[in-house]
Subunit: 190 residues, 2 copies
């Protein structure tokens, strides 16, 4: 960051009072511009014993297979984002389940979140960011052509949990998930 997005003045790296890190601080309006990791949200869309994967039509990792996933947008919940990405990239309508994996990818400033999901029907089609979309059983997963380590790990965990009969348990005891609305603010004055 070189310029203040608010006022256009130059920004400099300084550690604010009571802070422990250098931040981009505007020389004009003194706004502190924080930078934070972004969330990538996706699903493990299942039909019978198969998982739906997308062949990427975009960089990075063009031509490699991935679970449907993408950046969480402002104004949507992680579940809503995962459902949207699954529809946009794979043309699939899902019933979303519990949060299955959370992977920190600190070197690219991302947190990846994958939800269990069931296809409502075996209908899907490649969106603009996919070359191809296909259901794979475990033995047919293109393990050497997966796009990202977070996808590989999530698929390995999925099939391991499936073999161990743990997927039903995950449904009952996984991380608690909820959305908090504007109306639930405890104090409306703030």
């Amino acid at each position: 960051m070189n310029f203040c997005p608010k006022c256009g003045s130059t920004v400099t790296l300084k550690t604010p009072v009571d802070d422990t890190r250098e931040r981009h601080i505007c020389s004009g309006c003194n706004t502190i511009h924080y930078e934070n990791p972004r969330n990538v949200v996706g699903t493990i869309p299942v039909w019978q014993d198969k998982v739906l994967l997308c062949k990427r039509a975009i960089h990075p990792r063009l031509g490699y297979w991935t679970l449907p996933a993408g950046f969480l947008e402002v104004g949507e919940s992680t579940e809503a984002g995962a459902i949207r990405e699954t529809f946009e990239e794979a043309g699939a309508i899902i019933e979303i389940g519990p949060l299955f994996s959370l992977l920190n990818v600190t070197h690219v400033e991302q947190v990846h979140l994958f939800y269990l999901a069931k296809l409502i029907e075996p209908k899907y089609q490649a969106g603009v960011e996919s070359l191809e979309v296909q259901l794979f059983s475990e033995k047919d997963i293109p393990w050497n052509e997966l796009a990202f380590p977070t996808v590989r790990k999530t698929l390995e965990w999925y099939f391991q949990d499936k073999r161990l009969g743990r997927l039903n348990e995950v449904n009952q005891i996984a991380t608690h998930l909820d959305d908090v609305g504007y109306d639930e603010r405890i104090d409306r004055k703030i």
Copy 2:
């Protein structure tokens, strides 16, 4: 956003080709500036049958009680951020456990993540963002003076799960968590 943080030119709201949302696009260098929700990471620090809460010394919700939590920083994992915030706000050293709750707070563009945690010893002290830090048993929790709905929900879930004997199960079957390092990139060329 009015100005491009990269080149200082004015930005305009437009929907890029192959996108579905308006983005801030630079009129000078054409960079698309995405905006995404931020993660707030925290813990439920437990000692025996008590939970550690912090009385906020800062706005918003100054004077109200919260679980230790704060914005995830670039370059740290969600777990590392939760451990850091617990030390900064409550002066407490913890052993971190599984992810316990994920709450979307879309109207403020935040995702809140709370981890189970055990205090290593019953030592704690208010950091600069806290007025006071105190261990509370369930009956003593200041339910009417909690800072945020995500804290209230997380505490309600915690004590409910505790009553139901589910906390040990959470440890075994919760969401899979991992970090992915730079060295694990599948293809170094990209």
